[in-house]
């Protein structure tokens, strides 16, 4: 488990990093927290000509609020997010999701941009980005562009980012005041990738649902937004029957794959169970 030979570069600015990507013409990999890339290299499953290490670019690690969003530099560590008061107050779903991300040493290295760009469909952050209708900012030789969550994830470990682009920012809309959120996850062990996770946001006025967001992890090649289940709540309100119906609909919306950890049937079943639990818990903290 030693990687094949590669060049290593540690630029200190994004422009330098972009120039390096250009120089290798798609044959370089960006190194963020390294929690997924390093094993891939050691297993020789990834054989880039060069690594461009983003860890020495100070301008990529920050958290701030702007225009009703909480924005993150792509190299912000998961551990920073876990303890960020802004995140806790404005996007509590992300704070909760972060506690489900692996283990402490991994979160200490892992980054928000790295997790999203890696696009593992069983990971928590892509589900959160999808549920919140967040967006990312990509910078490349043609300038910057903003990519919405629904246009970002293409299939397993694949995004619409171009090989000469760097994901530099993540933008998450702040959760409206009074809305509740929850992330329910089922994994065989603490810290594993989800067998299924459901990220959920709801806002209410009495029994009326003014906002419902549901997204999955672990149910297919990309995190899935469960729009048809959300619509049931927006139409029928937040009574027990509507919640049950939304959960049943959620289970129908996914077509997960089987692997050695769980059958497709079980994943579909969990989608319903966890949707119901996430909605119940999110409503428990929602006001209005």
């Amino acid at each position: 488990m030693k990687p094949p030979k590669f060049d290593y570069h540690a630029p200190t600015t994004v422009d330098e990093a972009l120039a390096l990507l250009g120089r290798y013409g798609g044959d370089a990999k960006l190194l963020a927290g390294g929690q997924s890339l390093m094993p891939l290299l050691n297993f020789r499953l990834s054989r880039p000509a060069a690594l461009v290490d983003l860890n020495r670019i100070p301008s990529l690690a920050w958290v701030r609020e702007a225009d009703g969003q909480v924005r993150f530099g792509a190299m912000t560590r998961q551990r920073t997010i876990e303890f960020s008061p802004v995140v806790k107050a404005r996007v509590p779903l992300l704070a909760e999701a972060t506690r489900w991300v692996a283990h402490l040493p991994i979160r200490t290295r892992g980054t928000i941009g790295g997790s999203i760009a890696h696009a593992d469909p069983s990971a928590e952050y892509p589900a959160v980005l999808t549920a919140l209708e967040g967006e990312v900012v990509a910078r490349g030789p043609r300038g910057e562009r903003v990519i919405g969550a629904k246009d970002l994830f293409k299939t397993y470990l694949t995004t619409s980012l171009e090989p000469d682009e760097i994901l530099v920012e993540v933008h998450l809309p702040a959760t409206p005041a009074g809305a509740g959120s929850a992330l329910e996850e089922f994994a065989r062990r603490q810290g594993d990738f989800a067998i299924v996770a459901i990220a959920c946001v709801v806002a209410r006025q009495g029994e009326r649902c003014t906002l419902a967001r549901l997204a999955t992890a672990g149910t297919g090649p990309v995190p899935l937004r469960l729009r048809a289940a959300e619509e049931i709540l927006e139409r029928d309100g937040l009574g027990a029957e509507a919640l049950d119906a939304a959960a049943r609909r959620a289970a129908e919306l996914v077509s997960p794959d089987a692997d050695i950890h769980a059958s497709a049937d079980y994943r579909r079943h969990l989608t319903g169970v966890l949707t119901r639990r996430a909605l119940t818990r999110a409503l428990g903290v929602a006001r209005g």
Binding site: K2, P4, R188, Y266
Partner: protein, 812 residues
Amino acid sequence: MTAPSGGAGQRWIGRSVRRVEDARLLTGRGTYIDDHPPVGNLFHAAIVRSPHAHARILGYDLEAARALPGVVGVITGADVARHSKPFSVGVTAPVHYYCAATDKARFVGEPVAVVVARSRYVAEDAAELVQVRYEPLPAVVDPERALEPDAPVLHETVGTNLANNRRLVYGDPDRAFRDAEVVLKERFRFPKYGSTPIETYGVIARWDALDGVCTVWSNFMGPFIMHPLTARVLGLPENRLRFIVPPDIGGSFGIKSLIYPYIALVALASKLTGVAVKWIEDRREHLLASSTGTDRVAYRELAARKDGTVLGMRFKWLDNVGGYIRSPEPGCSFRPTGNFVGPYRFQHLEVDASTVMTNKCLTGPNRGYACGHLYFETEGMMDRLAATLGLDPVEVRRRNLIPAGAFPYRTPTGGLYDSGDYPAALDKAVQLARYDELRREQARARAAGRYFGVGVALAVDPSVSNMGYVATALDPQFRAKPEYLPKSGAVDSATVKVDPLGRVLAILATTPQGQGHQTIVAQIVADELGSVPEDVTVVDEMDTFTRVWSISSGTYSSRFGSVGTSAVALAARKLKAKLVAYAAHLMDLPPDSLEFRDGAVRPKRGKGPSYSVKDLAGRAHWNTESLPAGMEPGLQATAVFGFDVARAVDAEDRVNSSNTYGFIAEIMAVEVDPETAAIRILRYVTVHDAGTIINPMIAEGQIYGGALHGLGGALYEELQYDEDGQCLTATFMDYLVPTACEAPTIEIAHVVSPSPLTPLGSKGLGESSSMTVPAVVANAVSDALAPLGIRITELPITPSKLHAMIQKARKT
């Protein structure tokens, strides 16, 4: 927990003395094989492994690999066939197990070639360039399928995938089943899992062409029976093969005893390239191709009376040893021969044990060697018996336990249980768990539609295997031949010496894998010599050229707490006797009027001069003229301790397969989430009887580790293969090991029945709950789901599988 205290005169034994090893290990100052550059100019090996589960090797193209700068040699299976012999195997089937594939590859990950280069990076680059031409063959992974007439055959020389079969009969099982009022039958499946020690295998070999000595440094801890086996394979006399073990090993749990093929392979690589070669196994190699326990299909039958008395049992086993049977298999079937009946009184037993070869990774001892399998089945049957008769699971066990007054107890299979009080230990577990309250809670939970279950599991915990059990695999007629040499033994040595300042050095012939031998030995020696543990320095490295050892020596089979500690105590006592004799000479008194007390030789009665150890040591070392006539100079003593109850297997297949036998009683309460099928452990109580406990804290650590290990087999760990024999669990993302987060709260208590066979009364405890937790979890989950008619007979219980069972049960 309740801590047993040591006996009279034991000031340090029985105390939770802090581990002297920890500061070193926790601050990164341990010396493991990979930290260990015993010779300069080391080259590094990378092993080319078969990507096929079953394939004929047609040839090799090595030019590209050899041409890579930094490569000094490539060794293939053809070289292995030319320069070494196959290992002896423990059965008569003609299985040719070489240290690398020679004619065919028989499992994914089997070594087919070795590249030696100036760095591991270059070696791995070159390993990718080695082209092996294969003719892929159909594979078989299931032991029942492997015995069908049209199944692919792995070893043409054997002609079948059945490596061995023995039918053992004890008492009159047919009559027991004829007389039975209740007969129960069940099929069980036990999963293939290992131990994944934090430190993987590591071997450094230097074959010196000048003196003809091959020196091997490795994290091999025994059994040292593997030394003569390896010497024979390499064509070396035993005094030309030197095994050295560095001071620290990062865990083994039995798995590292199967490092020996790699010792041979790396030694050959050194011989053929002429350089010293280092190989450190990586995690993928470990999961693909180190060693695991067997997966087993078991058919069980139980005969009983209506009052719950078990009359007899039948075991039919298919143990899957993977691509080759290798020593010490088929211990997977026979290691527990003496304790086949567990803690129960029944006298009639039939065992039909088949060892099957399939295209999976090879096997060997894994913590609790074969006992996890045994008790998973037996304790499952005891619960079925209870359910069938409407008896409480604790009560049905009580009715069958060997009574406290029956020890030493000879089992029908030849085991000699040295001491115990099984009913008392079970009672203690029942009290600690507040069992009756758990049953009331269960009734309330069931009324509310919740799945709440209570499991019970008992086990006789065998320690210090008698290597003679291995011959149970052979037919008695074969063993009766004049040319057959019987085998038996369980031996370890220790040396204790006193320096001129009176400080003590204890030298062991074993290398611990983290168990804390230095601490334990310092406690024992301090008690014997009336000093303090800090004044005792313990050397626990192994070197076959300088240590006193025997075939059965090593740190395995929970030996140290029983046989290793005995050797230490006896060496210290021998030395004390010498000190008394010397002091008697100095005092001009008869030796029997003196005794060794509180660190000095004193008159037994009355006042008088005394000589401290320090005083005696100074005189004895500096002035040999002061020694009595005929006394050997120097203050050291070596003791070799062996059990005389370790006998060879007899003509009726009876064997005392271990030497000391502890006991475990466990109770667990679980709740199964009706929606997700997740299993939550609410309560877990474990009571142990391991005789005298030398260090309760260390004992507790062993129990924690054993329990977690068993939890792995019960809920998480399984090496899985697809139908083509591809391993699906070659990383820690797919091979799930329980972590601290998955650990339940463990409530521990002890019952102390000192062993009459060991000087300190101690028994082994290293495997402990690894052998009971699979059973207690399965029984608890079965109990939780009893309203649905679900019985757990296969492990591991994953939520996905359990959910499917619940769905199916609800439909019917």
